[in-house]
Structures are given as C-alpha cells and as structure tokens.
C-alpha cells in the first residue's frame, strides 16, 4: 500500500518557487530519506503534506486520503517533528504533552505511560518549562510528542538537528524499532551519513525539483567507482573518466565506463598499487548538488 503519494505537487510563494512537480511514492514500511540542501524545498513538501500550506497545483495523498481535504483524518496516524521546534514557552513539558494527548482518541493512560517511558529513554525532565530548555531538549520534547499516540507514519523534518550524537543514536534505534512494527518513516535531512545509516530509499530534491529517487544501495553501487592508481602512467584516456587528478605519481578519478577496458588499459602499464572503491554517498550527492556542467555529467554518469 502506498502511504504517501504526491502527483505533480507544486507550490509557489507568490512568484517564488517552493517546489515544482514533486512526485513521491512511499510504500508502507519504508524508511524514506528526503535529501537536499537548505532551501531546496524539503520543508515546503512536508508542510504541504501536513496541510499547513495549500498547493498551487498537484495532489497529495497519505493513506489514500486527500492531504488538503481530510488532513485531520490523516493526522490521527501521523507523528511529526518540525525542523525547528517552537512550542509554547511558558508551559511545562508535561502540560504540553498532556495537551497533545487530548487530541487523540484511544487509551489515555496508555499514552501517558508511553509519554513517561519515552521521556525516560531520552532523559527528558517533564517538569521543566519549555522556555528554559536547550535546543536539543526541545527537540526531545518533539520526538516524544510525535510518538505518544502510536502513529503509523512518522514525518520527521531534520530530526537530528540539535541532538547530540548519543541521543541521535537513541532516536535512530527508536526509529528502527518503530519501523519493525510496520511504521513508515519519511525523514528529511541534509546530512548524508545519517540517511545512509537509516534509510532504505532516498529522494534527492534540488531547486524544488526531485532529482532522483533510488534505493540507497543501488544508488551507491551501480553508478561508478572511485579508482586510485599508483605508478608510472602519464596519460589515461578512456570514456567514462571524470575528476581526473594526478598528484605524486598517483592518479585518482571516478570511472563509469566499461571496467574491462579499464583493466585492460592498466594491465599494459607498470603500476605499484591500485584501489577501486564504491563512492561515498557524499561523493554521489555532491554530484547532484554541483551546478556546473550538471546536465552533461549526469548523462555521462548515467544518473
């Protein structure tokens, strides 16, 4: 079943571009990463999904329901963490969470138990005033708040923002646990390593448009290799070579051509050392982000 499905979703803020023709399709049980630099349209997409905004055109559905007509129905099953947490400063954490509970039908004492369990897990003091909390602690409140009512879909907008690495791990463990119970996760970030750790699928958004949607493994494997060769090679000229550097007798480049041709070429040279590796996600994504020669290179690299 499709949990999130958008179709040519477009939002303009007056003349300014928010997102354009975003098509997303997220299956039940996926941990779906949504990657892009700041200002690319990640938050706009999420705010449309939650109907803080109305679209300029296009459609969006969650659990088969229209995001702009039945949003309140959808939200019964959604847990949301905002990118920047801004809660009522003058109330206690506990009061806010209790208020949050009043919005959900279901067993309130079970929710309350979950509130206490989760707070303990995140080492969150329920009696503090929200205004007195650090950024990281506010984020913890929003994490707890997003999980109390046992949602079926988590929409997390840069959830690790402001959390220290230890707590990040607690959060990731929790996300994995929830996922195992069948919860779908839509997770935006501009930090690639965390997406790599957690997500099964990823969409890359740039300048308001989806650049690509791929399985995280195939994205890494299928496209190209990072090659380093040490030895006496003066020149290498094969189709599919990119970012060629020659330093201290070491050639390094990215290769997306026929690997046999490369080996054949190298076998005729005198080399002392060689490594052929998969690129890191950073290297892949830098490619999507870099504006120079974008079209040519993408085509060349088959991305």
């Amino acid at each position: 079943m499709k949990v999130i499905e958008t179709n040519a979703l477009t939002k303009y803020y007056g003349k300014f571009r928010g997102i354009e023709n975003v098509d997303l399709s997220i299956e039940e049980g996926e941990i779906f990463g949504f990657i892009g630099p700041n200002g690319a349209g990640k938050s706009t997409t999420i705010r449309l999904l939650l109907n803080f905004l109305y679209p300029t055109s296009g459609t969006a559905r969650i659990f088969g329901k229209d995001c702009f007509k039945e949003s309140h129905e959808i939200k019964k099953l959604v847990g949301y963490i905002p990118g920047e947490v801004n809660y009522y400063e003058d109330v206690k954490v506990k009061d806010l969470l209790e208020y949050s509970i009043t919005f959900y039908h279901g067993n309130k004492s079970e929710y309350r138990k979950r509130m206490i369990d989760l707070s303990e897990r995140f080492d969150l003091n329920l009696d503090r005033k929200i205004g007195d909390l650090s950024l990281g602690n506010k984020k913890k409140v929003s994490v707890v708040q997003s999980l109390i009512h046992n949602p079926k879909l988590l929409i997390y907008d840069e959830p690790t923002n402001g959390l220290d690495p230890l707590i990040q791990n607690v959060l990731f463990d929790l996300i994995r646990e929830e996922n195992k119970r069948g919860v779908t996760v839509f997770f935006s970030s501009h930090i690639l390593s965390e997406v790599q750790k957690l997500c099964t699928k990823v969409a890359i958004i740039r300048d308001g448009k989806i650049a690509t949607i791929e399985d995280i493994e195939s994205l890494r494997k299928k496209h190209y290799k990072v090659v380093k060769v040490e030895g006496r090679i003066d020149e290498i000229n094969l189709p599919g070579i990119k970012n060629l550097k020659n330093e201290n007798n070491t050639l390094s480049f990215m290769f997306s051509g026929d690997i046999n041709e490369l080996l054949l070429f190298l076998s005729r040279k005198k080399i002392t050392d060689i490594t052929i590796e998969d690129p890191s996600l950073e290297e892949i994504f830098m490619d999507y982000y870099s504006k120079e020669d974008e079209n040519n290179e993408h085509i060349q690299m088959g991305i």
């Binding site: 939650l50 803080f52 309140h72 939200k75 959604v78 801004n86 009522y88 003058d90 208020y99 919005f103």
Partner: protein, 268 residues
C-alpha cells in the same frame, strides 16, 4: 473543547490582572460619588451645565444628572470601562490567532488531528468567554459598589443592566474585529497596533457622529454609537436598528474569519 480550555488557561493571568485593575478603578470612582452628590458637587455641576453644548456632547455629559449614581457611571464608565476595556478586548482578540504563526507554535496545533475550523472555534470561544467574564465581573462589582455608595434611596435596576450590558456588547464587537484582524495578519505586532488603531478610530467616529450633523451617518458604522451611555440614559433602551446591526456585524466578522483561516497558508 480541549483547545478552548488550553487557550482560556493561557489567557487566565491577563484576564485576572485586567479585571482586578478595573474592579479597583470602579471602586475608586464609585467612592468619589458621594462627594459629587454633595453640595460642593452640586456647585460644580451647575458650572458644568454652563459649558458649551458641544463640549458636553463630546464628553458624553448630555442628558446626565450627575447626582444620580447611574448617570455618574454613564459619564465615567464610557471612558474607563467602555474605552479602556476595549483595549483589553482588542488585545485578547488580536493576539490569539496570529501569535501562533508569529511565535511559530502553530506547527504544534496544525499537526494535530483537528480541522482548521475546530481550531478557530476553540480560539473564538475563549476570546468571547474571556471578554464576557471580564465584563460580568465588573458588572457584579459595580452592582455592589453602586449600592454601597448610592446616596439616594432608590436604585434603578433596569437602567443599571442596560448600562452594564453596553460595554459587553461593544467589547464583543471589538474583540471579534481584532480576532478577524488576527486571522488576516501574519505578525503579532502589526495585528496589535492595527486593532488598537481601529478601536480608537471607531470611538472617534462615534464622537464625531454626535458632534456634527453632517457626520451623523457615522453612527451606523461604530458600535460605540450603538451603545452610547448618554443615549441609553435618555431612551432607556437599545434601539432595534442598532441591535440588528450589531448581530449582522458579529456574524460577518466570524464568517470572514472562518473562510480565511480555513484556506490560509500558515507560514512557520
């Protein structure tokens, strides 16, 4: 109801502070009354009546016999309770919606399984209840103070209720007007200032309507004219035209607020 309860709780302190201040002010003004009704007071009043008619009209002193405690209230109450109380109503109404967008707390509420209309209903109810509690407590306090300091043997309850309901009616229009401004605006500061500007303009319009015949038509556009205390003392009633206008206005303000909020892009 959970939104109403939450919102009302958040207004509680402000409500308490303003109500207390007004009860004290009313106590103070009521305690001055016996000296107004005394001989020296009578002398002052004789002088007052020699002032130009325009002046009397401007300060709402027309038709008033200031040795009667209710007429005395009609004079002071229109500035203290009606006008300054409007500042309270405007403050409550103008903050309640826009503040969530300005402080970015709307993100919490909008992510909950409630419709936009229910959010607005909770906020609207707490605005109206807050204003009603404010005016009703002042009403009860006045009833007590006026009976303590009344120098005459009789107390005109009918006129008392009319004069006491007037501020409530005006405050409700002002509150709802500010509420609508709060829905339309995006920044707290601007909604505040805009609402206060509208309040004082409406008050000024009601004074101008009294002073100049050419501008008499203005009285149909401002709630301060609908429920003008010196006029209530004279007619001992609310005019049907004004009551009709009052209901049309509050209905209009509520409808515009709902229509706009349901389709609004909330920027956070």
């Amino acid at each position: 109801m959970n939104i109403f309860r939450w919102e009302f709780k958040r207004l509680r302190k402000l409500l308490l502070a303003w109500t207390l201040a007004f009860v004290l002010l009313q106590f103070m003004y009521s305690s001055f009354f016996p000296s107004m009704a005394s001989e020296e007071g009578g002398l002052l009043l004789a002088k007052l009546n020699m002032l130009p008619k325009v002046f009397l009209k401007m300060f709402g002193l027309e038709n008033l016999d200031l040795t009667n405690i209710l007429h005395y209230y009609a004079m002071q109450g229109q500035f203290i309770v009606i006008l300054i109380g409007s500042v309270f109503a405007a403050k409550i109404g103008s903050n309640i919606v826009v503040k969530e967008e300005s402080d970015k707390t709307a993100e919490f509420l909008l992510a909950k399984p409630v419709t936009r209309s229910r959010i607005l209903t909770g906020k609207l109810l707490s605005t109206i209840v807050c204003i009603a509690v404010f005016d009703i407590i002042i009403m009860i306090a006045n009833l007590a103070f006026f009976n303590i300091y009344n120098t005459s043997d009789t107390f005109d309850f009918e006129l008392f209720w009319l004069l006491s309901i007037a501020p409530l009616m005006i405050h409700i229009v002002v509150g709802l007007l500010s509420f609508m401004i709060s829905v339309l605006q995006r920044k707290t500061g601007r909604a505040d200032i805009f609402s206060l500007g509208v309040v004082f303009s409406l008050y000024a319009a009601s004074v101008l309507a009294k002073l100049t015949e050419k501008l008499e038509l203005l009285k149909f556009f401002t709630p301060y004219s609908y429920f003008d205390p010196s006029n209530i003392v004279k007619t001992r009633s609310f005019e049907a035209t004004y009551i009709t206008l009052f209901f049309i206005e509050i209905l209009g303000l509520i409808i515009v607020s709902y229509i706009h909020f349901r389709k609004k892009d909330v920027y956070i």
